[in-house]
Point group: D2
Chain length 344, copies 4
């Protein structure tokens, strides 16, 4: 069985393992204040071209989302999100567990628009009973989205501008950041993302690391006491250097960007194979997740040798499924899959 079911099926890139081994018996302070974490912070600030940034390392995405969001909102505020957003679907109510509503807006492709944000804001404040309603307090977007789509520079600039005007901090979940940055047609860079968002994170778990997300905070108001929030939400790793080491390995020489390309290359091979068979897609994704709409017979056939995820029913005969590639997807396996797609 060859797994395309997720982008976290394997361990870590060899460079990370090497550095972990090499530094294993070093004695360092705990909790993320060691020199590996410092190095990684400097590398990331360098790639973002902004020395004033605060960088924190957390183990996973749900933890990162919860910690950031709960640190920003006032008790009576909620976070605006696409209805497809990870915080709205796949975090077992972690945001609500910190006392806040996810204010979900409908999205066909996983993205929010600047207009949607403004309308949600206006609709709150124009309502005579707004004190009886959850006040929008910030905006959460994913890039790439859970549907594989990405924001264009223009789209992000528009959202960012609306957020700034409305004083709604903009938070980008970048669990798959590398795959967005390396996607065909992408016109966003880390410095731009850093400039346009108040806070975002660069995902390691799905892009070469064993685990780890690097939270980057630009907005001065959001920096204060952030480490208290990390500790309280259970995200302060005792051997914090393990996170530093991994991001050191990923960012000292641009490895993060390099290995992200493999996911795109292999995803495009899969996309093209389905396209050539005339098979439609649920979303138009230029990134590592592909959502072809297959007949149940096709699904059954491919399931013999490959694991992939059921995504959504489409009609009586067809369902959308998800194929994921990653930094380490084996091209030989993909070629085999392509052959089997051709045979469908």
């Amino acid at each position: 069985m060859i797994r395309f079911e997720s982008d976290y099926s394997e361990g870590a890139h060899q460079s990370i393992l090497d550095l972990l081994l090499e530094t294993n018996m070093e004695q360092t302070s705990g909790y993320g204040v060691d020199y590996h974490c410092e190095n990684a912070r400097e590398y990331i600030k360098g790639y973002c071209q902004d020395d004033s940034l605060d960088v924190h390392f957390l183990v996973g995405g749900t933890q990162a989302n919860t910690t950031v969001i709960a640190s920003i909102l006032k008790p009576y505020q909620g976070v605006i999100s696409a209805n497809t957003g990870h915080i709205n679907v796949h975090e077992t109510g972690a945001i609500e567990a910190t006392g806040h509503r996810v204010i979900s807006l409908h999205s066909d492709d996983g993205k929010l628009t600047a207009n949607q944000v403004r309308e949600a804001y206006d609709s709150h404040w124009n309502d005579a009973t707004h004190e009886h309603m959850v006040q929008p307090g910030m905006v959460y977007i994913s890039h790439p989205t859970e549907n594989g789509t990405i924001y264009s520079k223009k789209e992000l600039e528009e959202i960012s501008k609306v957020c700034q005007n409305l004083k709604l901090p903009l938070f980008m979940d970048g669990a798959r950041m590398g795959y967005g940055l390396m996607a065909d047609g992408n016109d966003l860079t880390l410095p731009e993302i850093s400039r346009l968002c108040d806070v975002f994170y660069i995902g390691g778990t799905k892009v070469g690391a064993l685990f780890g997300e690097a939270i980057v905070i630009r907005n001065e108001n959001l920096k204060k006491d952030f480490r208290y929030n990390i500790k309280q939400r259970g995200g302060m790793l005792a051997k914090g250097r393990l996170l530093g080491i991994q991001f050191e390995a990923l960012f000292r020489d641009g490895l993060y960007f390099e290995i992200s390309k493999n996911a795109i290359k292999t995803a495009m091979m899969i996309r093209d194979a389905f396209r050539e068979k005339g098979i439609d897609f649920l979303y138009d994704s230029p990134t590592n997740q592909q959502f072809p709409i297959l007949t149940h017979q096709q699904i059954e056939k491919l399931s013999e040798d490959y694991s992939f995820q059921h995504w959504a029913g489409v009609d009586e005969e067809r369902s959308a499924v998800r194929f994921c590639t990653s930094w380490t997807t084996d091209e030989a396996n993909v070629r085999r899959l392509v052959k089997d797609i051709n045979k469908l």
Copy 2:
């Protein structure tokens, strides 16, 4: 200006004031264990025809909803509600503030169906990633709904049966209970509601009292330590007898039911007046809230002498508005309104 904007514009029924005055200098224990509360509990259990019920008195609806829901759900569970439900719209995220999501299901008229509940449940448990999603833990319905509609006996029996099968406690918000029980075409009674719901409340604030909601718990599992929950959520009134006295006055001789009729009678006068003018309604309400769809010109005209609530835009020229009547709506005022409707 004659107010039809809400059903809580005036104070309380004279019988309540009389009893408050009469008992004012009595010395009693605090926190709802006095003999007035005991009397009121006995009256209510009598009307529900079930001696095994637990009855608690809280000051208001948001408090009642929050206290009941937070007492039932496990941390990772949410409460199923119509998207129109008060807890989903008009409680400033009070449920989320206790750590729980409101799982909102679309409703055109304010009601949930048994099928919707079952589908939401199945869709959760059939999802391979259900541990990553908020688990449905109970069901919240309003009766009458926020849109003035009511459940038929058959509808409530169906929902109740599904809830029992799925082990989802069923909670009915009865803030306007009296207006449901007295509505034309209603075929539900308190004993039936008590039998079909695990917990519900009988609203006093909108039906003759200064304030107060009587929570009735039938399900044995939900009774334990409920008073701790009341205290923690800020709902334990020091002079608890004030609640007891009010429900004593409302339920010793059936006053609650009697005065509810006035709201229905006057609402039907308003409904008929609009109908006769060929004016449509947003919802088909047999209770004290009426939602005619008026032109902006009609709205402007009526606003000269009457206050009512803007509800929702319908098209470029028309909006739905809400007229509320109550236990104390003055028939003379309604006749005047009817005349002015006729003139539109």
Copy 3:
């Protein structure tokens, strides 16, 4: 049985009832924006000699404490309180339910000192692991305290100064405010309390009202969106005018202060009677709560005709008990009690 067990055994002052009756059929807006609430706000601001204050009316003390504290603290902060403080003892963890620790400091008499606050603050910030500990975020004091003691002007000025220097908002729970202001030896006034605290409340429930606490906010930073907090915590009364009417009656002509005197007068009668018998007190209280230390035999004897509260065991033969008087305590009843004390 004559009740001295609490200061909320009876209903309300006749002036309040009169005004409730007189205004009962008025139609007003809900939720505290009616003209009675406006009047009451103006009266209170007048007595505090500060037009810039925000005044909000809530139903009860636990609600007021929870709403204020949760509106001020960041998620990782706690509230400093005497270990005897109401929020630390008698609110079923309502503060913790909003996510915050009560940082309790030992107090022999119910009061905190400026030094204690500074030491708690320093001990936090001087600890190398402070990010792993709850950060002190504000200070809660009661005046009078739960033990009947009161702060002197000098003591409050000292605490206030420390709080200002350390940027810890100071919150005073004034559930029994009237009895502090009218106590023998008190040198604090409402304008001074208003100037020295960031936020405080004037208790109605225990001083002549059916229920109600008037929250007064001086600190500009704490004013924003406070009504959202009230609504979310279940404290926004639909018929908000009921609170306005009560505080109108209490503050239009100084009734609040006048009726508070009765509690002090009768408490002093009881205190003197015990003193004359050579009976000691657990706390030296100049207010309406008295804590004599009685033998079990004395307790048994007095319990025949009077209800009072067991407070704390003292030694094998003696326990401290609490006698409460109030705005409406009947002097004849107190004279009878005094006689029976004399006979002990």
Copy 4:
């Protein structure tokens, strides 16, 4: 600088690294349902001699404590803990952030007694106002404690019996479990701990792993839906097998126990060295943490070459400090330290 400041200064045992490397390119399912996790579960159940146990792997201690405690308590309940307990001191209010109070009882040495638990329980339920107070809902103990002390079998049996009688689930924080099991004089074993506690965890972070705590649940009532809790609290590691692999390496051949001995051996060398100098200890610890009371001059001297933690002031001239050893403490370093202690 040789570090004795904590027991998490280095990386992981070589066997763990080897297994991580060896399995790095395996493709597995995420979230802890892979065969490595299954193997580790089986090994641990074997060592506990109980096939009915549920075993879950979490990344860190604060996360483990929060997830377990929040999964057990009802909203109005708190967790009994020694005042020295990690949850009461060093978790930035993580328990309170889930809505619950830590009910702290004074401890001189870090341990609770059965009597203390019973007294806290009785004092709650005997109080007439208990509904106004946080109800004790479970008991948290650490073994070894934060002060290095351990429970004897008799002590744990007594606490366990009281907890069972009072229906208070007993939860043991075993972040340093290995060092307790291998301590001189210890008479507790994993099967006994498993039998006497309702839930406990076996710490990996401080005993040979990169990170990871293995939660073991015996009480059937606490097992249901535990994975929802893990996910909600941010503790469900995407590449869950990383936890499985580590506990596999630690428990397939008893490595966990073997390497724990090194911490004890080296700690006893340090203890004996201080003892021979006539230096007292703050606690009598048979485990890997030693708390000698040193003069400020002695502290200064040793600080030249060794890092250790300031623990508590004792008198004007002396402070208690903490020296930690671990599974990987280098005996040569300890011999050097011993020499320098001799020279003091």
